[in-house]
């Protein structure tokens, strides 16, 4: 870890740094296809994604289905192997580490999932679910010690008093409570990075804010969070930075408020215009794109968005734009992948 830890400028490296990540899944070929030697097709889930996250920062990966945000998270967590690119955690390259070498790292990076009804083993009491990570990593030499850590984690997740919850089974808890148990189980090891895959999309509206505010509180205490969501409003409200993904690439990235108030990429602009607003008097004209996101097996040539882009030009068909900061950006860290921005 020490060799790569110090960068050229001597500054601390970001907590998480992802560079040029590429992840592809081969599609199963039929027997006929294999025999006829048809070309092996791939799902190009992640096609060159780079971003970094600092402690105490929440980055929202926003996009529609097929954009690669979930695969990016799984690749970062090393649940899936990347094909190209680097993942650096605290300066250390973890992209090619074996699973045995990754084990101690699992204490530092954790993940919570979308479905609170499936996240918990129905046979485990809350106590067992939250204590499991401790058992796996051999923390706590006695049941009493572990119980203490479990209770602390439950309190941290907003389940107070913890005694009320320790012996419950998941089916006795509401969706919001289950998600908090999942958060407690993730936090009990004291990780530095948390990936949250659509943490509230399956919860009732009245409960969502509580979970999001909990995540916000954890963030203020120093936790770095990468939140995957399709909901721009949630991202705008709770994230520090937003990265908009389309067909495996980040097409726009910047401070949350900037991306939402001054979107520079035509896709982002369209997305923002179609997000329904709370206020019935809001008269934003939705810019509805035709068709749907193409199949990630066949990525368009040039700019991947150009077939649906309302302002596409001739050159967009051949140039694959890089993420760069345009002149119209109000913030130095606001970047966009569009030659017309």
């Amino acid at each position: 870890m020490s060799a790569e830890a110090v960068t050229a400028g001597g500054a601390d490296p970001p907590l998480l740094e992802v560079e040029g990540l590429v992840t592809r899944y081969p599609i199963a070929r039929s027997l006929a296809g294999t025999l006829m030697r048809r070309e092996q097709l791939h799902v190009h889930a992640v096609e060159g994604v780079s971003f970094s996250v600092e402690p105490g920062e929440m980055l929202a990966l926003v996009g529609e289905s097929g954009c690669g945000k979930t695969t990016t998270a799984q690749t970062v967590m090393r649940m899936v192997d990347s094909d190209e690119g680097r993942i650096r955690f605290r300066g250390r390259d973890i992209s090619r580490l074996s699973h045995r070498q990754l084990r101690p790292l699992r204490r530092e990076m954790q993940i919570i999932y979308q479905d609170p009804y499936e996240s918990l083993d129905p046979r485990y009491r809350v106590r067992d679910t939250v204590a499991e990570p401790l058992r796996i990593h051999g923390i706590g030499s006695s049941r009493a010690e572990r119980d203490e850590l479990v209770e602390q984690a439950l309190v941290q997740a907003g389940l107070r008093p913890p005694e009320l919850y320790l012996d419950r089974f998941p089916h006795e808890l509401s969706g919001g409570q289950r998600q908090r148990v999942a958060i407690a189980a993730a936090m009990v090891l004291g990780p530095q990075l948390l990936l949250a895959d659509e943490p509230v999309s399956m919860l009732d509206v009245s409960v969502r804010a509580g979970i999001l505010r909990l995540l916000d509180e954890l963030r203020r205490k120093g936790l770095a969070i990468v939140m995957i969501t399709h909901d721009l409003s949630t991202a705008a409200h709770f994230a520090d930075r937003i990265a908009v993904m389309y067909l495996g690439r980040i097409v726009e990235e910047g401070p949350a408020k900037d991306v939402v108030r001054n979107p520079l990429h035509p896709y982002t602009k369209a997305l923002i215009s179609v997000v329904p607003k709370r206020d019935p008097r809001d008269s934003t004209r939705p810019q509805i794109l035709t068709g749907e996101t193409p199949n990630p097996v066949f990525i368009p040539q040039g700019c991947r968005f150009h077939p649906r882009c309302p302002i596409a030009q001739e050159s967009c068909r051949s140039v694959d734009p890089e993420l760069r900061r345009p002149a119209s950006a109000t913030d130095p860290t606001h970047r966009v992948a569009c030659i017309l921005a």
Binding site: D204, V205, L212, A236, V275, D279
Partner: protein, 325 residues
């Protein structure tokens, strides 16, 4: 003032048999839908909104008991249960179910599945039916010839459109849509909502949109009823619900929804809805309400008029203006 309602629901109750008792899922709901109107029925899981529209279609399971009047163009379709409902089902009132896009028969073509209700209800058959099905597909934005394809060849958004086409097969007057865009991407959602708006405006269709998503209702519907624990908590024009809510649940629900540009604090509502297998004393929302007072604990508030076309069931509306939040 306005035309006679095409659909009028009076005092609807639904009970479900459960182990050791009954669940009172819908508790005296009133609703009226005007021709060409888009009415929202908003609430969270368990509030009874899906049960309500299933009751209107007569699609409740044998474990359910129903009471109330459902007047379709003045005729009570619930009068004799299945006997009086089934002639109207799909012909006058049709439904797009939750997750309809996943409910297609995978071994039949999409077109044939749209033809099916036509033939079942004696609207058309054979070539004429297939032609009408193709027209319907065109109407919902899918090229008519694609009716020969199978469901797995359609994307999620297209399947949802096909489900809407299926609901319109017998040219109903009323369309009930249960969470039509919940599982869809935001861009596809916008396309579907635009379609629903176009259908109601151009065809004179009346629609009840059931959803938990407040901004969707705000964008598409003119009026909405907010449900909580089996009852209507508040009902009125969308603008009034947002700018001048007269029930704490409505207000808190909006407050719990993050807004794209707004900076106001997003707050969740603590607690959980009450169990409906036993009578709830006083106001059902009181344990979670931020403005509850003594009367709320043991007296159930009644729905009453609180403004122009607005009704709410809250004791705060009976209290002098000075005390209102």
């Amino acid at each position: 003032m306005t035309a006679e309602p095409v659909l009028k629901v009076e005092d609807l109750h639904v009970w479900f048999d459960i182990d050791g008792g009954e669940l009172h899922a819908v508790q005296g709901l009133d609703l009226d839908l005007r021709p060409g109107e888009r009415l929202g029925l908003v609430g969270e899981s368990g509030c009874g909104k899906t049960t309500t529209i299933l009751a209107l279609m007569g699609l409740l399971p044998p474990s359910a008991s129903v009471s109330g009047r459902v007047l379709l163009d003045g005729e009570d379709v619930l009068a004799k249960g299945e006997e009086t409902v089934s002639p109207h089902r799909w012909r006058d009132i049709a439904m797009v179910f939750q997750g309809a896009m996943n409910a297609f028969n995978p071994v039949k073509t999409v077109g044939s599945q749209i033809v099916e209700p036509m033939e079942l209800h004696g609207i058309a058959s054979g070539r004429a039916a297939r032609a009408q099905a193709a027209e319907l597909l065109d109407l919902v934005g899918i090229t008519g010839s694609r009716g020969d394809r199978y469901p797995h060849e359609f994307s999620g958004g297209m399947r949802q459109r096909a489900a809407i086409a299926m609901a319109l097969a017998c040219s109903p007057k009323v369309l009930l849509a249960d969470e039509p865009t919940t599982a869809l991407d935001v861009m596809v959602q916008a396309q579907i909502l635009e379609l629903l708006v176009r259908l109601t405006d151009e065809l004179g269709l009346s629609m009840v949109l059931v959803t938990h998503d407040l901004p969707v209702v705000a964008q598409v519907c003119g009026r909405a009823s907010v449900m909580y624990a089996g009852k209507v908590a508040e009902s009125g024009p969308m603008e009034t619900l947002f700018h001048r809510p007269r029930h704490p649940y409505t207000r808190m629900l909006f407050q719990a929804t993050p807004d794209l540009y707004g900076d106001d604090e997003v707050k969740s509502i603590p607690g959980v809805p009450p169990r409906l297998d036993r009578p709830v004393p006083g106001c059902a929302f009181q344990p979670r309400c931020d403005s509850a007072f003594a009367r709320c604990v043991d007296q159930e508030p009644r729905l009453r008029s609180v403004g122009e076309a607005q009704i709410a069931a809250c004791h705060l509306n009976d209290v002098p203006a000075a005390v209102l939040p």
